[in-house]
């Protein structure tokens, strides 16, 4: 057996180990009612989609929708390598033999990504054909395939880059160029689009030669693999307790003023710590994204007065629930910290200070979501839905601390 083959065997062993590791969690997810919830979403989306194809309004933004949907699936080019920190010791000496290993990784991820892109394209084509339909389906499919291949190659070149700043810049450029190419394919004749894409391709071919790069970006790939693994566990964490993996931290300097606003005092010790955790951990990132998305959707629905204003209130409730669930995870963050026991503070104080952070965060998020529903509704002269929503939200925020306190006591009993 050649050394290459042993590495390929290792790849298969690792892929199998990951499947076996995650299988029980998928089972828990299956039992949780999540598949039923997803089926509901898929069915309602399918109905919406068929309606859209049947009665596409002339003013429908055909090209914009296509560019957004296709850019996301064409540019997103992950790579599962199963590499772990110890590999810099054990596999690095065999770097020269890693091409076969890497080829398997590319094959594995490319098939899944391409399939996803193909599904999105197939869903989009009927919409596009109701509109301008300048390029034919086959031409678009070919263009999409070329763009996907280019993106996979580009994403690899970016992984190899030495400097993170340059890597981010090139990624931004790649996403922008892909979006532009798609816009040209959807709006201009085929020959123009092909020429444009070719030029962009050549330009990027040259651009990617410029920055300094690693032959095999070990640290980058190990980091990417760890992040992907973590995302799986964050997802499983919605259904069952999962092993805690080290959380990644984002600085979010635009929010550091919140931390500075916590006054220096013993009774704010854990307020300070939990606020920092909320602002800078991945959970904070998820809440911020949920908040932005929620505000946007609620505003749209409120502006359209869907279901006489109750449509946006329903979505308000859903987003509030999602944020509440995410925020509930904050209590687990320092659950096993040694300092919790060492700091000279009563246990009750810690729980009480944690609840203060939770309540304020919940109140702020809810108020923001509510404003995006209430203002457009009020401008349209509709008042009842937002008042009812405010009352229900306040009741929930009022009873939440008592429920959380019970959970904290339960957690401590378990520990």
């Amino acid at each position: 057996m050649t050394p290459d083959q042993t590495l390929e065997k290792l790849w298969h062993r690792r892929a199998k180990a990951f499947r076996e590791e995650t299988m029980p969690y998928f089972r828990y997810m299956g039992q949780s009612g999540f598949p039923a919830f997803m089926s509901l979403i898929i069915i309602s989306s399918a109905i919406g989609y068929i309606n859209l194809i049947r009665h596409t309004p002339a003013s429908f933004p055909f090209a914009t929708v296509g560019v957004i949907a296709m850019t996301l699936v064409l540019c997103w080019s992950p790579l599962r390598t199963w590499l772990a920190a110890g590999d810099t010791v054990f596999l690095m000496p065999r770097e020269a033999e890693m091409s076969g290993y890497l080829r398997l990784s590319f094959r594995y991820t490319t098939i899944a990504c391409t399939l996803l892109a193909a599904i999105v394209l197939l869903l989009y084509l009927p919409i596009y054909n109701q509109g301008p339909a300048i390029s034919g389906g086959w031409a678009l499919a070919l263009a999409a395939a070329a763009l996907k291949a280019g993106n996979i190659w580009g994403a690899w070149k970016e992984r190899q880059m030495t400097w993170p700043g340059m890597r981010r810049l090139m990624r931004l450029l790649r996403w922008t160029a892909t979006a532009l190419s798609l816009a040209v394919w959807l709006n201009c004749p085929v020959w123009q689009a092909a020429a444009f894409t070719l030029l962009i391709g050549i330009l990027f071919g040259l651009l990617y030669r410029l920055p300094g790069r690693h032959r095999f970006p070990w640290e980058r790939l190990i980091d990417e693999e760890a992040r992907t693994r973590k995302r799986y566990y964050v997802f499983f964490g919605l259904f069952i307790d999962v092993p805690t993996l080290p959380s990644s931290i984002a600085k979010r300097p635009y929010l550091s003023w919140v931390l500075r606003a916590v006054s220096y005092s013993n009774r704010n010790t854990f307020v300070y710590l939990y606020t920092a955790s909320l602002l800078r951990t991945e959970m904070g990132g998820i809440i911020i994204r949920l908040l932005l998305l929620g505000c946007l959707i609620i505003y749209w629905l409120a502006d359209a007065l869907l279901l006489s204003g109750y449509g946006c209130i329903l979505v308000f409730g859903i987003f509030m629930g999602l944020i509440a669930v995410q925020l509930g995870g904050l209590r687990h963050i320092h659950r096993h910290s040694v300092w919790k026991h060492v700091y000279p503070m009563p246990e009750k104080q810690r729980a009480w200070q944690y609840l203060r952070v939770d309540r304020l965060a919940m109140l702020l998020c809810t108020a923001l979501l509510w404003l995006f529903a209430a203002l457009p509704l009020a401008f349209s002269g509709v008042y009842l839905p937002e008042l009812a929503a405010a009352a229900l939200a306040l009741v929930y925020i009022g009873i939440r601390p008592a429920r959380l306190r019970k959970k904290i006591i339960m957690d401590e009993d378990e520990d």
Binding site: Y264, Y272, A276, Y343
Partner: protein
């Protein structure tokens, strides 16, 4: 003078059937630095965990500032600061935010806090890193943050587990200078370390642990005597070697 730390006939470990510590007793008084030494697995870290209150004694008791953890939790905990063997930092906090958190936890007065923070950052050459997140620090720098946090609290007792691991020469020097200073001001220090020459130079008394028991306790002379050496000479290392190997390597 009342001891700040008293360990009385402590037996403890992870399983009641197999205790790691066997009936150990010692005390640490204000104004003295005591070295806790022993081979890997001798029970040093387990002893420290019992003192911190992270483990419950199976028999015996630990008193800090005259009280057990159960009697007066807050008084017990506010009497000491701890530097763990492996730095345990919050990834989401910067260096100066760690100091601020410690200041809050140990109720360091607002007006004293800033001066102490500034002084510590300068003394441990961490001024340029004050805004760096814990995850971006080297191991030695993380250890410096741990040490600075303990020193910021200015408690009557310092419990320091292997403080020199990963520290650069300037860091070691700053730490020792500060420990001498806090000791002069009346604080007590219990320090576990494998660097026996440093322990010998800086500590007033020594606790030698072996297989979960205290095999020697006291000044250098006491340790030498316990090792069966004559009183005229021999370093702590020589005495330690004799105590843990019985004078011959098996």
């Amino acid at each position: 003078m009342e001891p700040i730390l008293q360990v009385n006939e402590l037996t403890g470990g992870y399983s009641p059937r197999r205790p790691v510590l066997h009936n150990i007793s010692f005390e640490v008084r204000p104004g003295e630095m005591v070295g806790l030494i022993g081979l890997n697995g001798a029970g040093k870290s387990t002893t420290i965990k019992h003192i911190l209150g992270l483990m419950k004694p199976q028999a015996g008791e630990v008193k800090v500032d005259g009280v057990t953890l159960e009697e007066e939790t807050e008084r017990y905990r506010s009497a000491f600061a701890y530097v763990p063997e492996t730095p345990v930092l919050f990834d989401e906090l910067t260096v100066e935010e760690h100091l601020r958190l410690t200041g809050m936890a140990y109720s360091v007065q607002d007006n004293q806090y800033e001066a102490r923070e500034d002084e510590l950052l300068k003394q441990f050459q961490m001024m340029p890193k004050r805004k760096a997140f814990a995850s971006h620090l080297s191991k030695g720098m993380k250890q410096k943050v741990m040490i600075m946090n303990a020193l910021l609290a200015e408690p009557p007792l310092y419990i320091i587990d292997e403080p020199f691991l990963g520290l650069d020469p300037l860091g070691i020097r700053s730490l020792l200078e500060r420990l001498v200073e806090v000791k002069r001001k009346g604080a007590a220090i219990l320090m576990s370390s494998h660097i026996l020459s440093t322990v010998e130079t800086y500590c007033d008394r020594f606790i030698v642990m072996h297989h979960g028991k205290v095999v020697a306790l006291g000044t250098l002379e006491d340790v030498r005597q316990a090792a069966g050496m004559d009183m005229r000479g021999g370093s702590l290392e020589d005495a330690f070697y004799k105590l843990v190997t019985g004078g011959h390597v098996s």
